[in-house]
Symmetry: C2
Subunit: 312 residues, 2 copies
């Protein structure tokens, strides 16, 4: 398997459905960190997050028979919206299982993209059982939010676009939740980078990926008490393998550091990012000396926030 | 006087000190309004607002003798920061008179750009008297935030950049405070547009410009109770003349409409704009039928907001 060719083909398949998002810089943040930072703005992606890339690719890779029967996933976050919009683009059905206590604003966003919501009890068991039932009843194909190679290849297109604009990056930093973004980023760094390292960033409060690399096994989180709501998930076997083999290291940051980095990006760069995206800049600010005079790509994973519930 | 040539020369003078800010679009907002909207992102301008353009030009047009003695203005808003940064760029002094009750965050921003703050009582009389004293003592040149032709020519560079990218705009909408932005925009629409009309947008609560065009005289505001803190000022004689002769009309919007438009831009476009900038989109949303199928430029004037004090 030639991963480089796979990513190139993937990018061609999805490019008419996604934004080639801008890469922006900030003199102020360069000065503050001592590094040269290149922010890949997936907050400007369709539906507001990188998840659109992987969801679109997964849907496009289905057979026409599969497409006819639709897709199903369980998510209360960005992947729910991404799969709904990806399916809508092809005129196929997206069944989205959401916990019944999910915020109304998130349900409305999914409905806005034509997603068909099935509510369930707010437990992982209930979510999985409900999704399985829909698979059975409707014949819909289950699409996993991150532990799916087609999804990872789709996500890899963000790193590809970044490296096409800035081929000489020394490092790319991405946040780690389930590991789908950093897995795709890692594959792109290997394929298109020039000795470009990949570093993960994770909240201390949900540092399952950090602990997984230490133990060599997929670890779980005992609490999910973080403002970075996209990073609560644990790794899957596919993402764990990629991260374990290729990610340089994982930097952990506190909730205060996440909020401070988020505020800096809002105030200085005048763009809206979600807390999960701020984790990567927080990592650079925490260990400035490691990044001094380096060219550092930062993937801003998304911009979907509830403006009524900000940490400032 | 050839205004077109003046604006071209002005732009050349200032261009190495300013950002040629991006023009962005939003499918969602196009769908919501029925128009084709082109947002000129002066929130991404140096120091966070279009004011940098006029301030930079005013400072560059001083003689070297004048520059040696510095510049002075009174402002508690974006122009204070703009003049401080413009002066800092040339290594000259900027004396900024600010009311002593101005928020600490704004004073710090001025200090951050090397501005020398003199505090005074929070009345227009005290501000003017203090500025005059500094002129006398230091020999510094007073720079008016908007009623100054060099400032207006600097501001015109925003409209020029917008029309260079989109020469076929039917309309450009800009907010009106003292009228410096819309005056510059109007000159650029005349010089570089193809029958491009200019419309002003103003909060109902500070509708002095609307009333000034009705009465034919410069009217004042009896209250300044608006969230659009950049638009509280009344017109000057220079801006009034340009607006009175060339602006198609002024649309007034309510505070609720401003907040709603601001929220839409934050949520849908993922960029941070200040309330004053939202007034222009609020005007389009209020009178959609006037803009149907039109190509409409919207100048997003700035992005300096206090994140601790949001209306959401």
């Amino acid at each position: 398997m030639d991963v480089k060719e796979d990513i190139v083909k993937t990018h061609k398949r999805i490019e008419s459905y996604i934004q080639n998002t801008p890469v922006i810089t900030s003199q102020t943040l360069n000065r503050m960190t001592g590094a040269e930072l290149f922010f890949k703005c997936e907050n400007f992606q369709k539906m507001g997050a990188f998840k659109m890339r992987g969801a679109m690719h997964a849907v496009l890779q289905l057979s026409s028979e599969q497409q006819q029967k639709g897709v199903v996933t369980h998510s209360s976050g960005n992947f729910a919206q991404a799969l709904a919009l990806a399916a809508q683009n092809l005129g196929i059905k997206a069944y989205i299982v959401m916990p019944k206590d999910a915020p109304e604003v998130k349900k409305n966003a999914v409905r806005g993209y034509g997603g068909i919501i099935t509510e369930c009890e707010p437990t992982l068991n209930a979510r999985e059982a409900t999704a399985q039932q829909i698979q059975k009843e409707k014949g819909a194909t289950f699409v996993h939010p991150f532990n799916d190679f087609n999804v990872i290849l789709g996500n890899a297109s963000a790193g590809k676009e970044l490296l096409e604009k800035h081929p000489d990056l020394d490092i790319i930093i991405a946040p780690i939740g389930g590991g789908g973004l950093i897995s795709g980023t890692t594959l792109s760094a290997l394929a298109f980078g020039n000795n470009c390292k990949v570093i993960g960033a994770e909240p201390f409060n949900v540092d399952d990926a950090f602990r997984s690399l230490e133990s060599g096994n997929i670890e779980q989180n005992s609490t999910i008490d973080t403002i970075a709501d996209g990073l609560k998930t644990s790794l899957g076997d596919i993402t764990f393998n990629i991260i374990n083999n290729h990610v340089e290291k994982i930097i952990r940051v506190t909730e205060e550091e996440i909020i401070e980095a988020m505020r800096l990006i809002w105030e200085r760069m005048k763009i809206i990012i979600e807390p999960s995206s701020a984790v990567a800049l927080a990592a650079v600010l925490k260990f400035k000396s490691e990044f001094t005079n380096k060219k550092v790509g930062i993937i801003l994973s998304g911009g979907n926030v509830d403006l009524s519930n900000l940490p400032f």
